[in-house]
């Protein structure tokens, strides 16, 4: 009970619930999208050894790309396919007829449906898109942690110790980060550390920390001249205690919540941009030893196939990406409005 009160006080929960289930339909839609993706990810990642055979299954034929809504069945392939040997109703599948497809000895795979088709490795795209969401959970968590810590340090240094050397140094560091485009800093990280998870996510976290520090700067500057800070000083509390407990913890939680959502949105945006520019992070062996690709990597791959009519490998990751970014933006904007964060 105490922990619940301390970490999630009722007023905070009420605001979050109101912002999602309130009169704004868009943020509720955002929550539904996020929950669907998260539950799908959990379902896929916990069943990777069990009877859910879409993960381990791989098309064994010469044609790896099977179009969406294609039944894969050894025995009843001709009768079960949606539209005989011609094209189905969404995509042209004339290149990959049903007879070419065969399973690699997996008997569970008869009468299974590739809902969104397969990717270039011959794996089910629907399953692997949900698995790709896990990438953003891991990467988003790292970047969020870095940006919160770094942004809090910068913001509190620049505002609480305002007329002085510490504040000037913090502002100078902020200026250095702000005077570069995001993509140039990421390129610098790429050229120095290569395509690996931690350096790039830490860089994205540092880039985004300036937004948090900017918001914190204004709030702390306003708060530090208040009477309750004076009385805390009179009681003998030191600066660190006042800053961490009375200013940051009790009064700046809303900033962390609101900007946290935007940091995660930025992680998804920047990671998919890098992946599209052929600098996708090597995610092999990060999630349960399965070869996972981020949605941006699928978009980069799809460039090769899109002109030959195999559009599903580009369209569905793009829709997933758009839905996720939109839902995060909706939730973030509504939280911003509720918490009165500018």
């Amino acid at each position: 009970m105490f922990i619940r009160k301390f970490i999630f006080p009722k007023s905070l929960i009420r605001k979050i619930v109101k912002s999602i289930f309130g009169d704004n339909v868009y943020s509720f839609f955002g929550l539904v999208v996020m929950l669907t993706l998260f539950i799908g990810y959990l379902f896929v990642s916990f069943n990777y050894q069990g009877n859910y055979s879409f993960l381990t299954y791989k098309l064994d034929s010469s044609e790896k790309l099977a179009p969406p809504f294609l039944f894969n069945s050894q025995n009843e392939s001709k009768s079960k396919s949606l539209d005989g040997s011609g094209s189905n109703f969404l995509f042209d599948n004339s290149n990959s007829s049903v007879e070419n497809l065969s399973t690699n000895g997996d008997s569970n795979f008869n009468n299974k449906l590739f809902l969104l088709g397969t990717n270039s490795e011959g794996r089910d795209l629907f399953t692997y898109l949900f698995l790709g969401f896990g990438i953003y959970i891991i990467g988003g968590f790292i970047a969020l942690l870095v940006s919160l810590i770094f942004g809090t340090i910068l913001g509190s240094m620049s505002a609480y110790f305002e007329p002085g050397l510490i504040s000037n140094i913090a502002k100078f560091i902020e200026d250095i980060i702000n005077s570069f485009p995001k993509i140039i800093i990421l390129f610098l990280a790429l050229i120095l550390f290569g395509v690996s998870l931690y350096p790039i996510m830490i860089t994205i976290g540092i880039i985004n920390s300036t937004n948090i520090s900017k918001a914190l700067y204004q709030k702390i500057k306003y708060l530090k001249n208040n009477e309750f800070i004076d009385s805390a000083r009179q009681l003998g509390l030191n600066d660190l205690n006042i800053l961490i407990r009375h200013i940051l913890y009790y009064n700046c939680r809303d900033i962390f919540i609101v900007y946290g959502v935007f940091v995660i949105a930025d992680v998804i945006l920047l990671e998919s941009t890098l992946a599209y520019l052929n600098f996708g992070i090597d995610w092999n062996n990060i999630i349960n030893g399965i070869n996972v690709k981020s949605w941006g990597t699928y978009l980069a791959e799809g460039k090769e196939y899109i002109l030959s009519g195999k559009t599903w490998i580009t369209i569905f990751p793009a829709i997933f990406l758009l839905l996720l970014l939109m839902s995060l933006n909706f939730i973030g904007e509504e939280l911003k409005k509720r918490f009165h964060v500018k």
Binding site: N178, S179, I184, L188, I191, S272, L277, F279
Partner: protein, 301 residues
């Protein structure tokens, strides 16, 4: 009065100039250190192998005295090749800045004046939706849908329509999908509400003055203060646009530098972008002060 003001501006400008120079030197120093300490170092001949501070000093003197940024992997001088491509990037960035600035001014003005109208509200919602489309995805879709890839600008039979498409499609893509318009319109809406509720506006209204003109002046002044940070994001967007549309600007050079690990070329890209951003910051600072002294003389004292 005027002399004092002019002196004040000069003092502030020299301080700003020295601050930006300090920033520039720090950034180049950080880049220098990171290249020196990197694992696969191919630049060691160019950057020196001795004490790091003296090496940096001699390097930066060499850069500014003889404009020598080393050579690329293909053997061309970095400075010349970057200077050639820098014009295209600057054109892309500045023209999209002007376009998005003017679009957002009109939209924001319309939205803040007629915000209760249903059509305006849905329109603003659509603009918000556009901002959540990633720039690279929008550019990718536009490249696919438009006849952009077919156009060969160097051929003799190229028509004026093709030339217009070649130049305008990337510029409009950058100006619409970079999130700039959304932020600006939101900012204008918020500032409009704030300024119109202030006392001097009500006083002006009672006297029968032109309120909208006054609010507009204040908003434009505020916009100039935030346009600095937007220029940086626009340069970042221009890099992505150049890579996807195949414009031979500084962004494509930077991308190739990362792809082939061309350290000296990337160092040149960093220096060029930083200098461009610094110059833009300084000019907006001066313009800000000129406007500030014209309309808000009381604030400067």
């Amino acid at each position: 009065m005027k002399k004092v003001l002019r002196k004040n501006i000069l003092m502030k400008f020299t301080w700003k100039l020295s601050y930006s120079l300090m920033l520039f030197i720090t950034i180049t120093f950080l880049a220098f250190i990171s290249f020196r300490l990197s694992v696969n170092n191919k630049m060691i001949i160019h950057l020196g192998n001795g004490f790091i501070f003296s090496d940096f000093l001699s390097w930066i003197i060499k850069v500014f005295s003889s404009m020598d940024l080393g050579t690329t992997l293909s053997g061309k001088p970095v400075f010349g090749s970057l200077l050639k491509s820098f014009g295209k990037t600057l054109m892309l960035t500045v023209s999209s800045l002007i376009i998005s600035f003017s679009i957002s001014l009109i939209l924001g003005w319309y939205w803040s004046n007629y915000g209760k109208n249903f059509a305006v509200q849905t329109f603003s919602r659509i603009i918000n939706l556009i901002s959540s489309i990633p720039l690279f995805l929008a550019a990718f879709i536009i490249v696919l849908l438009s006849p952009y890839m077919v156009i060969d600008i160097t051929s003799d039979t190229v028509s004026t329509v093709d030339i217009l498409i070649y130049y305008l499609v990337p510029i409009f893509t950058l100006s619409i999908f970079d999130g700039f318009i959304t932020e600006m319109t939101n900012f204008i809406k918020i500032r409009f509400d704030e300024i119109s509720s202030e006392q001097f506006i009500t006083a002006l209204e009672i006297r029968g003055g032109n309120i909208k003109k006054h609010i507009m002046k204040h908003i434009i002044y505020d916009l100039l203060t935030i346009v600095n940070s937007k220029f940086v994001t626009l340069i970042g967007g221009a890099i992505i646009i150049e890579i996807i549309f195949g414009w031979k600007g500084i962004g494509l050079q930077g991308y190739n530098a990362v792809y082939y690990r061309d350290y000296s070329l990337f160092m040149g890209v960093i220096i060029f972008t930083t200098i461009a951003i610094m110059i833009f910051n300084l000019t907006t600072y001066i313009v800000n002060h000129l406007i500030k002294n014209k309309y808000f003389i009381d604030n400067t004292n």
